[in-house]
């Protein structure tokens, strides 16, 4: 099968049908076909993590996936976190702890943290640092990011849960 492949991806809860040449990368599909520009194109070599999205519940570097690999899967991008104009707790925590300066890595960083908290709702600082190894920040550094994730974890803790 050469030419284009028909694919169906659920992006932020909405089904999206389209066509992609097999060599098209998922990051390009999200940005240029679906039209969501929050997912960043960073190093393009699977190092920096700024293109991270959540796919079927797991963080994924969208520059290291072919769009056809996402066929039939559920993708969440940074645009899928906020509820209207209300920031998701992670986004709010990033804002409050000043966990970004230039912001380029932020959407990927937040998506990695989002996947981390889904699997581990109360991570230690070390677990957070390990969890975001795949996301590089070149200006803010990782201390405020770690604080933001911890703060969000506390905020998202189920009622009556132990700290």
């Amino acid at each position: 099968m050469s030419g284009k492949a028909k694919i169906r991806i659920t992006v932020n809860g909405a089904a999206h049908e389209g066509e992609a040449p097999p060599r098209m990368l998922l990051v390009d599909y999200i940005r240029d076909v679906v039209g969501l520009k929050g997912t960043r194109y960073g190093c393009d070599t699977s190092n920096c993590g700024s293109c991270t999205v959540v796919m079927d519940g797991k963080s994924a570097k969208s520059c290291t996936f072919l769009a056809v690999q996402a066929d039939g899967r559920e993708v969440t991008t940074i645009e899928g976190l906020a509820d209207g104009s209300e920031l998701n707790p992670l986004q709010a925590a990033f804002q409050e702890t000043h966990a970004l300066q230039c912001g380029f890595c932020t959407s990927g960083m937040v998506m990695s943290a989002h996947a981390l908290l889904a699997h581990n709702p109360a991570p230690s600082a070390e677990e957070i640092r390990e969890g975001i190894i795949g996301n590089l920040c070149r200006c803010t550094g990782y201390v405020p990011v770690t604080e933001a994730v911890q703060s969000a974890a506390r905020r998202m803790k189920p009622e009556g849960g132990t700290p």
Partner: protein, 300 residues
Amino acid sequence: MYPASFDYTVAESVEHAIELLQRSGEGAKLLSGGQSLVPLMKLRLVQPAHVIDIGRVGGLSDVRVDDAAGVVRIGALATHAQVGASSVAREKLPLMAEAAGVIGDAQVRGWGTLGGALAEADPAGDWGPVMQALEGRVECTGPAGVRVVDAASFFVDAYTTVLADDEVITELQVPVPSTGSAGAYLKMERRAGDFAVASVAVQLELDGAGSCTKAGVALGAAGLTPIKAVAAEEALCGQPVAPEVVDAAAERVTDAANPLADVRGSSDYKRAVCGALFRKAVDIALRRHWGENVKGGHVR
């Protein structure tokens, strides 16, 4: 960066994948998680005419104990994260669970598969040395059926294995070490997420008196392929693991290492790192044997 154009087919089953491979010849590549293949294709280091996606083939990602055979069977499509989190792996093959946790980053671990990593045969890969230290075997399925290859003879050269053009890795079979056996996997990185400067896998079986009855030692990023340090294994066996025994074995480890100089260090430096990691890994394995909770994995 875009990969060169290719035809793409989703394989419905292992048989289907083999049929497609037979039809495409050596111009085809299997795609599972894509965490190695896609970057290589983007750099155009690999330009397959046909990509066969086996990532959706069912039933190839279980991690289960086969008591009759005395092995853990790991489906080739199991991801690094799955092995790291698997209660079977953590209980029966803690060395594998430890190695799973230090591969790449969370994104890679969640999608990259063991079969894919073995087939890529990156000289700095983690599973090669771990499989060799544990005397694991690789099940390869082709048109003529199944053959099982020892991890020690699976790797031929950098990025080259014994896998034929029409074969698919379907399973890893790893013997369950005896009770009282302990090991450690250590990987030295210059910084988080980088490829290993060198890595060492050690698995020791000790009897009640602390004498070593069996040893598995293998090195990663220490040559074009993973290296099973057989002479070091022999030097450890048949006696308690006393400091002078470790000294003698460490010398054989550095003799076995044949690392290439690159940005991560000179050949001599990496050889020295192999010796140092080996000593540390033996120390951790012994302490684990005696019940101590010691951290292995990354050395930075």
